[in-house]
């Protein structure tokens, strides 16, 4: 791995492999037309970005955040309010994404500030609570957020020179997929730069031994706040991208504890601390729950299974069980995740 040498490659071999592999996914659309893989992979990309944000907080800085869904929600709603035609702002797709990131960063800073002195487990509970109250707040502030209806319709990504590149919409999922893939590549690039930068080193030092880091003139409080802000910003942008995908923010419950845990699993199952690991984790976890399981259910139903009333016969009812078993087995037998990172957490 090139991490040891002085010059750091733009992307690691694993990342090139994965991003390149993802770029080839639309070819599978010809093989499996009913599955519409490239359309569904857009969600994978959104969650990969979410995972990359969480990775900075949990994997690199060692801060236990169980409520990243809250920042995703904040980003989605910031995007929604700023771009939907039911409000006067209507700033457009790209400014909307950037605004979501900025609002997310602010929210991350605000949540992080009072929690700097907290021990790991206390921080976990607080972030968990934060996830809940953001949901509640979004649901309650109906005049602003439209409560459980969500804010819609929302703009699709905008490309310059429509004569040359065309427009992006649900009619052109492949184009949309490639655009999101490009965004993902940029995020991976930035994350990788962070990994090898001075700030990145400070984050690792704070994770490994906060007191020792302090004795080296590093200020852990500042580092933690930056980590919170960056993680939240990425999560918020993922939320905005997600909202654009649905052309709606959806209801606040879409960003609940299950999303936070999904993100945590993406980071941990993929390989905590590793960017490549997060990519793998997103493909595996989201692929499983959004692609494999529903299609399996549909396929089974078409063949007559799963249509009886019994609770045991619908594969969808096994969702939690499979998820839970996968987690327990992974932690038991391969706790470092699929991709081992040199910068894994040992605490």
């Amino acid at each position: 791995m090139s991490a040891g040498s002085s010059r750091v490659a733009l992307f690691s071999r694993g990342q090139v492999f994965l991003l390149g592999g993802l770029a080839l996914v639309p070819l599978l659309d010809f093989v499996l037309p009913s599955v519409q893989l490239s359309a569904q992979m857009r969600t994978v990309i959104v969650f990969a970005i979410l995972g990359l944000g969480l990775n900075i907080v949990v994997g690199w800085t060692g801060l236990l955040n169980l409520g990243i869904g809250a920042f995703m929600a904040i980003g989605a709603y910031a995007f929604g309010i700023a771009t939907c035609e039911i409000y006067p702002f209507q700033i457009g797709f790209w400014p909307g994404i950037l605004l979501a990131g900025a609002v997310g960063a602010l929210a991350g800073f605000l949540l992080g500030a009072p929690t700097l002195r907290l021990r790991g487990d206390y921080l976990a509970i607080v972030t968990l609570g934060f996830g809940e109250i953001v949901q509640d707040a979004l649901k309650n502030l109906e005049p602003i957020t439209k409560g459980t209806q969500g804010i819609n319709p929302l703009p699709t990504p905008w490309l310059p020179l429509p004569e040359l590149f065309g427009t992006v919409s649900n009619e052109t999922p492949v184009r949309w997929f490639y655009l999101y893939l490009a965004i993902l590549a940029v995020v991976v690039y930035l994350a990788r730069n962070l990994e090898f930068s001075r700030l990145g080193r400070q984050l690792f030092a704070v994770r490994e031994d906060e007191l020792a880091a302090r004795c080296m003139a590093i200020e852990p409080d500042k580092a933690k706040l930056k980590a919170f802000a960056m993680g939240a910003a990425l999560a918020a942008m993922a939320g905005a991208m997600f909202a654009s995908l649905l052309s709606s923010t959806g209801e606040p419950a879409n960003y609940d504890f299950q999303v936070s845990i999904l993100a945590l699993c993406i980071v941990i199952v993929g390989g905590i601390g590793s960017i490549t690991g997060v990519l793998v984790g997103a493909i595996v976890m989201v692929g499983l729950s959004n692609v494999v399981l529903p299609n399996l259910t549909q396929a089974l139903q078409r063949n007559g299974i799963g249509s009886t009333g019994s609770v045991f016969s619908s594969p969808d009812n096994y969702k939690y069980l499979i998820f839970g078993l996968a987690l327990v087995l992974m932690m038991r037998y391969r706790p470092d995740g699929i991709i081992h990172s040199r910068k894994a957490v040992r605490k």
Partner: protein, 325 residues
């Protein structure tokens, strides 16, 4: 109702709910104190306790018996205590089993690994509750649909103990909660202070290696902790189901959140802290429901939590952790 009466009523609600939360919080805090693990699955063990209770009631054909004329009879109290003990033992046993199968092999693993494993167990139990709910229990009403909440029958008479005229309502259920939780808490405190096993628990919580060297069977102590913690959860679950007249496969989530918050508020690992935290949360929720708005109660609770943690990062009764340099 006068303002005082409104206030008193909320105090009653707050204390009743708070005691239940305190019981669940005790389960979390005891386990945390001894193995430093947030047992995410505790809330779902709690859920299964409620389901067991409902199944027992259904199985006994009690629905037919529990009509208005017999509520409040001695046999109902016996049923209640029976359910508490039954669900308690079931949950305690389940907790011990989970520890032996999942947590024990991971005792030396990093905290995050243990936490994720606990989350995994939580999901498995949620699914079990889902399946359990799908098994026809329609003898007692409530939907057949697996995910729908089910009705839990009134076991105790609902009349106002303060008299028909009083605006403030105090029911047998409120009394029952106290009748069950207070002895449990006192018993637990005495147990931990006076018995050998209790001393072993305290020693293991403070320094597991030293405890082992002193000849304490730390495995047995840990199992006992899980057993007791689970028992408390089961007892709480029965009280919760009776009080709220419903169970659902997700009831553990809300109860879990409240209990977490209570345990942290009081100082995680501290038993008096969990009791104090539970009562506080119950009261705060009741006051917020009444004087602010129910929809903002969760936010209020969270706000209080943050405020307290900012000034006392280890919780109200938590011990300040001094780092050894």
């Amino acid at each position: 109702m006068t303002d005082t009466e409104v206030f008193l009523q909320q105090v009653i609600y707050g204390l009743s709910n708070g005691m239940i939360i305190a019981l669940v919080a005790l389960g979390y805090t005891m386990v945390y104190g001894i193995v430093e693990l947030i047992n995410f699955a505790h809330g779902d063990v709690f859920t299964l306790g409620g389901f067991l209770a409902l199944t027992i009631v259904g199985g006994l054909g009690a629905a037919a018996v529990l009509d208005m004329n017999t509520l409040g009879e001695t046999s109902n109290w016996m049923l209640l205590f029976g359910l508490v003990v039954g669900a308690g033992l079931f949950c305690g046993g389940l907790n011990v089993a989970i520890d032996k199968v999942v947590y024990k092999p991971l005792r030396r693993a990093p905290k995050l690994t243990q936490l994720v494993a606990a989350i995994g167990v939580s999901f498995i139990l949620v699914n079990i509750a889902l399946f359990w709910g799908g098994v026809p229990m329609d003898a007692l009403g409530g939907g057949n649909a697996a995910a729908a909440p089910k009705d839990f029958p009134e076991i105790l008479e609902g009349t106002n103990l303060l008299g028909e005229e009083s605006n403030v309502v105090l029911r047998l259920e409120d009394v029952a909660i106290f009748a069950i939780t207070v002895p449990l808490m006192i018993g637990l405190t005495l147990f931990v202070k006076k018995t050998r096993l209790g001393r072993g628990m305290r020693a293991t919580a403070q320094n597991p290696i030293a405890a082992k060297l002193m000849g304490i069977d730390t495995d047995r102590v840990i199992s006992a902790t899980f057993l007791i913690g689970g028992f408390l959860g089961g007892a709480a679950s029965v009280m919760w189901s009776v009080y709220n007249n419903t169970i659902s496969f997700q009831m553990g989530f809300r109860a879990g959140m409240d209990a977490f918050t209570a345990a942290v508020l009081g100082g995680i690992g501290s038993m008096p802290g969990a009791m104090l935290g539970g009562i506080l949360i119950g009261l705060i929720r009741a006051m917020s429901d009444q004087y602010i708005e129910t929809q903002w109660t969760n936010v209020v609770v969270f706000g209080v939590l943050i405020l307290i943690l900012v000034f006392r990062p280890s919780g109200l009764l938590g011990l300040k952790q001094r780092e050894k340099v």
